[in-house]
Symmetry: C2
């Protein structure tokens, strides 16, 4: 028998190994660590307050496989409720969990809470299966991940809402909220289970599944142009990209790049996937900031900084530094400092090794592995470099992303699987031809994800709320004195629409 102390040491080694040597990019398939929606409520931090008292976690007994009546296995799904604002006769508001841990701060913060106060709503948030602490299976093996899908998540919601209505008020109206992928779920839930929901807000919801999401970097390019109305920022990035490409051809250049960008490892020029991942990582610096421009409250509050498009493009167009590569490196190193990363990871195999981990205690369990699985088996949405106009180079084409599915999950996950999956997803949900009512689709013009969303009214009762100048899910965060008027107006429009839904006959 192994003694307990030896065993403990071994476990500690594993944990330390995972913490020190694991590597998931800060931005993976458009998903930052923690999930696609940031955390609200940082004004408490800004004011030096402690976080408000948050509701305790609760657990709902959920079926493992809703699409196999012979499978009786169940598991415990995490949820939170806030009854503070509820008055009898009021509605039930559901915040739909997504591709990250469900943070209970949302139970007391965010625009939906403001609406809940006004409409006397009972608030509940259901964590998405396979994310956070909602673990339907022993681990995240490929075999177990077969139960991770948006369809299963919608069925989870259905069972949860039926039970909640029975407990709270069987006649209560239900409004769902969600941002980004949960925004899609909010719309899709109204599509598939209209008898269980009376209105849905689908913020920044991508509805068109697509393997090669070239529009993503197109919008990033457009958004960077908003800095000064010119192509200066993009041109500087393009020059930096070109110079790096040249530099990588010589041993001296590679040493220089490693040093400038504080890379963790020396560059092997023969490793194409490392090179692809390096360029993709550098574009990720901009993707992350553009996607959450001026809205990432937690980021701003927690890190005591305010990195926006203006910050990055300010650096990129700063003529006091003559070399665009050095400016590009400055952006990179600023973000390394902010995120307290000692060096810049980019080694492909290291990333893949991390994402191949199946344990719930591994770094991959933060969400990177699960979200990648969903992109491979449902949505695609690979932010490739295949658009000709974007300035981040063309060394991370669609094949680079498709091969990741195979490298992480096995040879079975080839282009056929992904193509069929994306086709099935669009057949299932109708993509942008979705036939739906009582849904609002807020989107921000800065947000790269808006390219997959509903930007024009589908019909008088399925309207787009297109917000000029804001980023991903901006309308979901708490009010801020800095909010542009069109964002204030959008929140009001959503508020009024919910009021109408609540007035309508069932």
């Amino acid at each position: 028998m192994v003694s307990n102390s030896v065993l403990l040491g071994f476990v500690l080694c594993i944990i330390l190994y995972q913490q020190c040597f694991a590597y998931v990019p800060r931005m993976l398939h458009g998903r930052p660590k923690g999930g696609l929606v940031g955390t609200p409520g940082t004004k408490h931090h800004l004011l030096g307050e402690t976080r408000p008292k948050l509701p305790p976690e609760q657990w709902f007994i959920q079926k493992l496989d809703h699409f196999n009546g012979a499978d009786s296995r169940v598991w415990k799904q995490r949820y939170f409720v806030n009854e503070t604002y509820y008055k009898p006769g009021g509605p039930i508001f559901i915040q739909i969990g997504g591709e990250g841990t469900a943070d209970p701060i949302w139970m007391v913060e965010g625009s939906w809470i403001k609406y809940a106060r006004e409409y006397n709503a009972y608030c509940a948030m259901l964590e998405h299966r396979f994310y956070g602490n909602s673990h339907p299976t022993d681990d995240m093996s490929v075999s177990n991940l077969q139960y991770l899908s948006s369809e299963q998540a919608l069925a989870d919601l259905a069972a949860f809402i039926v039970d909640l209505k029975n407990n709270v008020d069987p006649t209560a109206k239900v409004i769902t909220f969600g941002g980004s992928y949960p925004g899609s779920l909010s719309a899709w839930f109204r599509l598939k289970y209209p008898h269980l929901v009376d209105g849905a807000v689908a913020s920044s919801a991508p509805l068109l599944s697509e393997i090669n999401f070239i529009e993503y970097l197109q919008v990033v390019t457009d958004s960077l142009r908003t800095y000064d109305g010119t192509d200066a920022c993009n041109e500087a990035i393009r020059k930096a990209t070109d110079s790096i490409t040249s530099a990588l051809k010589t041993a001296e250049g590679r040493v220089q790049i490693k040093q400038s960008f504080r890379l963790c490892d020396s560059i092997d020029p023969s490793n194409e996937k490392d090179i692809a991942n390096l360029f993709s990582t550098l574009s990720g610096n901009f993707e992350n900031v553009v996607q959450y421009n001026k809205d990432n409250r937690a980021f701003e509050g927690a890190q005591g900084t305010n990195i926006t498009i203006d910050t990055l493009c300010g650096i990129m167009t700063d003529q006091t530094s003559s070399d665009p590569v050095q400016r590009y490196a400055k952006v990179n190193n600023l973000l390394l400092d902010v995120y307290k990363q000692p060096c810049q990871d980019y080694k492909y195999d290291k990333m893949i090794d991390t994402l191949r981990q199946t344990s719930w205690t591994s770094s991959a369990s933060e969400g990177g592995r699960q979200w990648t699985y969903q992109t491979c088996t449902e949505f695609g949405w690979y932010q490739s470099s295949d658009d000709v106009r974007q300035p981040f180079g063309h060394s991370f084409p669609i094949d680079f992303w498709i091969e990741q599915c195979q490298d992480i999950f096995g040879n079975n996950f080839n282009i056929t699987i992904i193509s069929d999956a994306v086709k099935r997803s669009n057949t299932d949900y109708g993509a942008l031809m979705i036939k739906i009512s009582k849904v609002l689709f807020p989107n921000g013009s800065i947000d790269p994800w808006h390219a997959m969303g509903v930007l024009k009214d589908l019909n008088p009762d399925a309207r787009a709320v297109y917000i000029n100048g804001t980023a991903h899910c901006a309308n979901m965060y708490p009010d801020s004195p800095d909010d542009p008027p069109q964002l204030v107006q959008a929140r009001l429009e959503i508020f009024m629409q919910i009021g109408e839904w609540l007035q309508e006959k069932h």
Copy 2:
């Protein structure tokens, strides 16, 4: 090695065994052999004509599991098309296959074909997975039957329709048709895939899943009362039932019953399930005739007879025969003769043994095993004797039906599985609270299934077409000079509604 001739003999033995010793009740869970909708077009037989030329079968490559993006297995699903009536710009009509073999006679007969002629429609019929010749798996083992569900069937339809539209006309409107369980599928498809269908006719569609379907025999009782407006027929059945119950208590009585009802096997009074199955079988004589009263064209044509409620109640109330048991036996033996059965099966174990067969060449593959599986894992709908007013005795209570799930499919299929399955089905589809538009719900007042259907308009664009005096799916059969005016009117109403759907903007 076994010689080929020995092997052939062995196979022949198996086939003969299956034909001679297999036993599935004529009426199983409300489903007659062949499926819940009869075969139209028998006027050709009546007129001594041969069947018209029918379209050849075709095969569609279909995914095995639409709810697991990682599963790339495919199989061939059978379908038929008829382009005869199609003109460019016309719609696509889909006849949805159900719990039996898809008979191509439907491609040239039935009210939908009449509509297709008028609206220049392209007609297609997709056979339901696991029925007929549409075999997604090597056999019908419990493990393979996990892929048999209404949700998978709807996803089959979605993939099929997307492909068909691409081939015929991507802008074509689509109207779905279905009767009985496929009627439910027709409504549910419009619920779940509204972007793929512009109108749906859901004839005699049960929408409320329910374990203990006591309403079934209630409606049978009501329908038998239509014979003469009195309880005479039901009272005679009740007396017969009581007398049989008494007779079964003595050895002499059991011999008498065996003889009177031409039972295949002697009665073991200690075998409760045999007794339950005997009474259930005798009630099945009436269920079958009531469910298809005056509408079962194939039955009428093929068998050269016309057995209706009037026939059975005429026998039951015939005062020239003093003993109700003998009249009850006369009904039974008439049907044995019509169906050319040498004796009346009722042995529970024999039935279960048949339904446990998993081979596609077994008798069970006709549909009995698959449909029973769907009742155990989705719908319930057990026509128990638990209603106090019906006259067929109370010896086949709900437990008798629930235990069949375990006896056929294994101990796992207990009441918990069935309860959860029925709950999930109602959560999934909304039961009678279904939120839907552009659907018509025809139902017949005589048909026991109408108790699970939509009998009143849900909203102005989801209307009930309740037909007084007709049975299961009456509106789907070809016109007959004997059709009551309300049936003629119903077919016209459906025709006009389809016209409106085809006129509306997408």
